[in-house]
Amino acid sequence: MSHHEMPFWKKYIFSTDHKVIGLQYGITATFFLLFGFFLMILMRWQLAYPGIEIPLIGKAISETGALTPELYNALGAMHGTIMIFLGVVPMGVGAFGNYLVPLQVGACDMAFPKLNMMSYWVYFVGGVIMMMSFLMPGGAAASGWTSYPPLSVISNNAQTVWLLAMVFLITSSLLGSVNTIVTAIQLRAKGLNFMRWPIHVWAQVTTAFLLLLAFPPLEGAAVLQLADRVFGSSFFLPSGLVVSGEKLAVAGGGNPLLWQHLFWFLAHPEVYVLILPAVGIVCEIVTTNCRKPLYGYKTMVYSILFLGFMSFVVWAHHMFMTGMGVTLSSFFQATTMIISIPSVIILTTILLTLWGASIRFSVPMLFAMAFLPMFAIGGLTGLPLGLTASDIHLHDTYYVIGHFHYVVAPGSLFALMGGVYYWYPKFSGRQMNQFLGKLHFWVSFVAINCVFMPMFLMGSKGVSRRMYDQTQYSHGAATQSWNVVMSTAAFVLLLAQIPFIWNMFTAWKTGKKVENDNPWEATTLEWAASSPPPHENFPNPVEVYRNPYTYSATTRKVLPQFIPQEG
């Protein structure tokens, strides 16, 4: 049947259209991001006001109305898990990747539309399973998103459900990454050779390779941990364990570090999965809003590829304190220092693009400009963590939490939000409200810095991570008031998202309609399609005539990729 005759459930629920699937990923991921944020809001109340009853909902959560240590640890583990695997990656890869990659290469859809649909629904089921773990006896998983054994194996909670959910989420990612790579390589429009790909496509393809090759070891490790929990094996349990005074009745002979190696072998590339789509989005927004080509396109491409490759050989910098000797630590410190080079080059290339530009301060550009210093802070604070000597003091402290949140929250998330404002006209035909956008940006920008900057101060004092109540320690008590600042800022940050959510959902129907298909005067292929594009994207085949981000030397006007040279 033709697309127009399909019933609602086939057109919008079980759609195989990459645009619908992209929006499905986007809406689902937004829900999970807000939910994960909400978990942290509960934790931030406890951190600022230890033991004090949570207003409104406290009594529903526990007898005293305050978080218990068990619940705090469960919320902590689930916050990390949900934000990473149900929030940022599905948004960056599932939503933006799915929606934009076929359009940016001039294809009518992903290479495997049915597989694409399956990826989304497997993600959805994985998400439901993960959420169900809150209702299981013993509560949700509570060993951190890192799930280190033996704690994760001996815990009486829904860690098993967590592992099962991860298997679903990993499968979804694997299927999705095959689709992205095949689409970008095979379904390119005429004239689109690799060095004419928009940077966003390079970023998404590299991300897809990271997901494809790094996730399976975690899947293997999850199977092993499942075996330990469900079948009584001892992959990660050494002999001689004594828990609460009782010898653990297991065969033993296992190795807790085996989990850490397998886990971090994925989880380090995973953090580049979190940042690369954001870098791609920022490049698109910046070039359009600078009215000039990207500086150093080739350099940017090679840096992204090198970053992707290097991400596989730094993983043990998360394990410096596990008894690492001189040889192994020297290797991983060196690779960690080396990986900072492409990161700096990426940042510098974007900064240099600003030189001689004509900068339009649209709402997406505000987010893209904020991304740059925020990503810089996140990246720079990785240096003391990547050197073992300084890591001795800073490992597993709030310094680490500050470091990675700067990269992911005012880093990736800002880029993703900027991307929503930027491509909103493409997928809806309307603009989001600009005033609400600016309000959202400025309040979020100030609040988010107030949430995460004090973490470096607390961490340098030695305050450990994952602390239900740090005032038990004297260095914790001495830095406790920072928590009040951070929590207040977090509550403000939550409120600041209201205009964004409101804007996102109402502009669909009431936003100002765009006058043409390319309201930002951008150069890449997705802007050749109508806003929104029809089911087959390009009713007339589209051809690529030049590099992305090109402008005419004579008229200084933008020269999109898809327009033949005039005269």
Partner: protein, 264 residues
């Protein structure tokens, strides 16, 4: 609830609880770590402020306005290349001259056992068990089957070497100026042995025993913190790390030995 909140805000508005920066360091090796941390942060601040000034300058000078067009000619900047090379060289120097030597010293250059205080620290949910060899300097045998509420490390008091061993829960006393070698283990899950005031950190992993060493140069009463999520009691796994004068330490040993004899 409101009174409790008011109390918290009283402290906040009074400026209490806003400490920051590196804590006091009483170790002999910590200065190198602190030097690396501060040098690195000056470097980071320099880069950030430099980038920041450049960014703000661009945002102002190159903003879109009447009569201003972007310069679309191909650009070649050589300064960033030299800056990048400088950054790389600086990082390499930090790595080779600051970090590698500290790590090598801590991992391979152990003090002589005979002239050090050797202790075995076994972490458990949620306490630090510190096993001293006693005046004879020899550790008594331990047996996992002997572990119970009063004997957290399973010390075999029948073993002649074990008769004078001291097992303390959460009290880690050391004499100032003497190297200390810690043999670190764990009973149940991974814990993190962290002495913030001596720049010591090492994971305590069940099934493995790790040696680590440090030496103190000042007395004081400090804390042991847990630096790896170990369960619901992770936040209250505080131990006491007391650096005593040699006299205080000897007195403490004497008292412990007296208590042992009386107990027997």
């Amino acid at each position: 609830m409101m009174e409790q909140l008011a109390k918290v805000w009283q402290d906040v508005l009074a400026g209490k609880g806003f400490e920051y920066g590196l804590p006091v360091d009483v170790s002999t090796h910590g200065f190198a770590i602190d030097n690396l941390i501060s040098t690195l942060h000056y470097f980071m601040a320099l880069l950030f402020v430099g980038w920041g000034i450049y960014l703000v300058y661009c945002l102002v000078r190159f903003r879109d306005r009447e009569g201003h067009v972007a310069d679309i000619a191909p650009q070649h900047f050589s300064l960033p290349k030299y800056l990048e090379i400088g950054v790389v060289i600086f990082e390499a120097c930090l790595l080779v001259f600051f970090s590698y030597p500290v790590w090598a010293k801590l991992k391979t250059d152990f003090p002589d056992r005979a002239s050090s205080l050797v202790v075995r620290i076994t972490a458990e949910q949620f306490a630090w068990n510190i096993h001293y060899p006693g005046p004879d300097g020899k550790f008594g045998k331990t047996n996992i089957d002997l572990i119970d509420g009063t004997n957290p490390v399973g010390l075999d008091r029948e073993d002649p070497n074990g008769k004078d061993d001291i097992v303390s829960i959460n009290q880690f006393n050391v004499p100032v100026g003497k190297p200390v070698i810690v043999e670190l283990g764990a009973k149940d899950v991974i814990h993190g042995f962290f002495l913030p005031n001596a720049r010591v950190k090492h994971d305590a992993i069940p099934g493995m025993v790790f040696p680590l060493w440090f030496e103190t140069k000042e007395t004081g009463k400090f804390e042991i913190a847990c630096a790896q999520l170990c369960g619901v009691g992770h936040y209250r796994m505080k131990g006491y790390f007391n650096v005593l004068t040699q006299e205080e330490y000897d007195n403490w040993l004497l008292e412990e030995e007296k208590a042992l004899k009386e107990g027997a």
